[in-house]
Symmetry: C2
Subunit: 258 residues, 2 copies
């Protein structure tokens, strides 16, 4: 089990990041953003800096990996992996599907994850040994044993290159309902039993470690397209997240065929 | 000018619809929905029935056209056009970009529109002769005179068939940032000056008349791909909505070329 201490601290990190992110939401409506000082960049950096300060104060021997400021002590037993704003394009458009992602990794393995949606006020926390909650209430993935019954979410088909596009489309065409534009919200909705599947590609550890822990703590399965568990290290990963492990196996086969 | 009376009444309609829609949101998480009694269908019908009752009581000589219950007195001077849940797929997935659309049409022409987002609690009201507000505060589209600087939103590229797909992709490739999965929220975000362009196809009058009025009341331009103003009647329309009229003209040219 993950000590309550870590859970409370992860919740605190997300709460602090949320306040900073919301401060900058929908503040810069001009078309021309200076690339280095757009509201989303300011919010991204400020939220990660705040989380890093809190981690360094509370757990000085833990490591950190963030999208904005890179890694520090990443050979430590515990490493905090952070994406302060996952879905920066959604943030820029004013669409509330972006969020803050946090994972606590122990010896490379995600043991606790957070998906925080600042605008809708939804926070998912959980992991393989810690039942996932949404704002404190337990959530579970739903049964869906066949892709023909599944809702499949993807941020954009543009993330698939070459043959991967054909493989993705094979699943998408077989699914009951496809949905684009989901960013990290898609993973939360799998954990909450609202949708069944997320298929994405070209993701970094800070994109997938938190969501993987959250979904596993709700009863689902998340791996790369080859079925390997997700660990710290690597990058450019292709991810398949399913609420129902039976569905996961079926979709993995579909993604694997040449 | 549109009498305050009509504005207050449109606001009241949206408020009543919102309560019904929220009652059914995220209530049916099972994969197998009975097609005729899914939560989204129940909410859709109940919200439209409620609005129709209110209209018939208050303006018995007005006409009505709704997605669920069809038309009534649609030769009246004033006709209320309603889509109780635009974005039923988003509703089913639990993604808060769906909304209630209302238009008041006078002799075929949309004079007042409402886009109501129940989950985020945002309500846009306005029209050509009534400056658009978001929750009572005025909003304006933003200047964006070139597609190369534009954010373009579309619910899904699957709505474009044959040659229309190529025309859409021409704009999408030229744009600064494309965004999928927006449903009626996209039109609201154009009115609010957060995004610049929505391009869609295969829409019915209850899909586009309310958004067209809202965006025009915020300074933007909405027509079909041929540049014709949007009127009651027709269907299967291809829509281009732009916050900046200069951008609208540019994009219309791009959509029009063979």
């Amino acid at each position: 089990m993950i000590p309550d201490d870590f859970c409370r601290f992860a919740d605190h990190l997300a709460e602090q990041a949320r306040a900073i992110v919301l401060d900058h939401y929908r503040t810069g409506v001009a078309v021309e953003d200076k690339a280095d000082m757009s509201p989303v960049t300011i919010a991204d950096r400020a939220a990660e800096a705040r989380m890093r300060t809190l981690i360094a104060e509370r757990f000085p021997d833990h490591g950190m990996l963030g999208e904005e400021y890179g890694s520090e002590r990443d050979d430590a037993e515990y490493v905090w992996v952070m994406d302060p704003i996952d879905g920066t394009k959604a943030f820029i458009c004013g669409i509330p599907v972006f969020g803050t992602l946090i994972a606590l990794v122990r010896e490379g393995e995600p043991v606790l994850g957070v998906i925080d949606l600042p605008v809708t006020g939804e926070r998912f926390i959980g992991g393989p040994a810690r039942a996932t909650t949404l704002n404190g209430r337990p959530v579970r993935t739903r049964p869906c044993a066949s892709v023909s019954r599944a809702i499949v979410a993807t941020t954009t088909p543009d993330m698939f290159e070459g043959e991967d596009m054909e493989r993705f489309l094979r699943v998408r065409r077989a699914a009951r309902l496809p949905r684009y534009g989901t960013d990290c919200y898609g993973y939360g909705l799998v954990a909450a039993g609202m949708i069944d599947l997320v298929i994405e590609a070209d993701l970094a550890p800070y994109d997938y470690l938190g969501p993987a822990a959250v979904i596993e703590g709700a009863g689902g399965t998340v791996t790369d397209w080859e079925g390997r568990p997700l660990r710290l290290g690597g990058g450019g990963e292709r991810i398949v997240a399913a609420g129902d492990p039976v569905l996961h196996a079926e979709v993995r086969r579909m993604l694997g065929e040449g």
